[in-house]
Subunit: 202 residues, 2 copies
């Protein structure tokens, strides 16, 4: 059989670049590439420009290590926020999730990772020395660990607790229990066990 | 509550550009944007450049209207391909699908759309005059309609058949029947009806 319709090379390159994105499989990459080639020049250029500009203008906040355009970031410099509370998260998207809850009024500290010995990620790979320095600098009354409720998240909580306890700061973590709207009948055993352990007076 | 963590504006713009892509929801757009901001400069630049380059270098083949870098495209100029066969498809991705089947050795004609009166897409919006001109120019013995087996696809088949029949060209369409590997028990009524109507001698 003749094999002449190899996808044109510029499209092939675009498919490969899209396929490297998280959660974009080969089929999606193909669909997106053909869309980008055929859509309005405005839409395609806007995306290419948005990528370049975001890369150029976004940096890490020197205090909380969240992504920001201005350093320090808007959260760190907001006088209405409680400077004595620091919530430690794994990644910038977790900050957005906590902000959506609408009840947190303190600051953040983004680790940009989680302890994972299996993948060779040790304390030196996270921004833990910066966290320690913030607490040592004074003014922090409580560090709230908001890592994922996973083995790695737990290990990170334990590590931070040991790291900071000599400094006399209070280290807490998010409550475990039934998620809002959950069906008791379908809750997994660990979740239910944690909900029982953490039961509260009414 | 203080609302200071509005996503930095360059990231917000990137999220919006990604969200405009087909099949990319708001959550995926957010995840992709944060990935692109934090990934290696090579990866992000490669994507931005691939978009711009594909847009600059890809054009429509003046014969078959498929996407191509060289005009006419590699399929149209391949001497091993049967120039008397033209397969009509809705969009460039359909060409890839038919090429994957590995048994087609003719040429293509990409309509870039399908008749859809409900959405106001009439014959004048498709590349039908170009198809007619190709047949009128001579050398085409058969036009194979490979539009989707949908109402719109059928309407397009009928229209093309009427358009080309005065020119004495043979117009065929892809067979309908059970998809390979299908389970008869779960086949829908229409598919089964078409499979019966189209039954073949063994």
């Amino acid at each position: 059989m003749p094999e002449t319709t190899a996808t044109p090379e510029p499209i092939q390159r675009l498919i490969e670049a899209l396929h490297r994105l998280p959660g974009v499989g080969p089929k999606s990459a193909q669909r997106l590439a053909y869309h980008l080639v055929r859509t309005s020049p405005q839409e395609a250029d806007a995306l290419a420009r948005a990528i370049v500009e975001a890369r150029e203008r976004i940096r890490y906040c020197s205090r909380c290590l969240n992504l920001t355009e201005a350093d320090p970031c808007a959260v760190c410099t907001d006088p209405r926020r409680d400077q004595s509370l620091v919530c430690v998260v794994e990644q910038p998207l977790d900050v957005l999730a906590i902000e959506r809850s609408g009840i947190y009024r303190g600051l953040y500290h983004v680790l940009h990772g989680i302890l994972n010995p299996m993948e060779g990620i040790g304390p030196e790979h996270l921004h833990l020395s910066e966290l320690r320095a913030r607490v040592e600098a004074g003014g922090v009354a409580e560090v709230i660990m908001a890592t994922n409720p996973s083995l790695e998240g737990e290990a990170t909580v334990m590590y931070v607790q040991r790291l900071l306890s000599p400094l006399g700061v209070r280290v807490t973590r998010l409550a475990r229990g039934l998620p809002s709207g959950a069906d008791l009948e379908y809750a997994d055993a660990v979740t239910l066990a944690r909900a029982l352990e953490g039961r509260q007076e009414i």
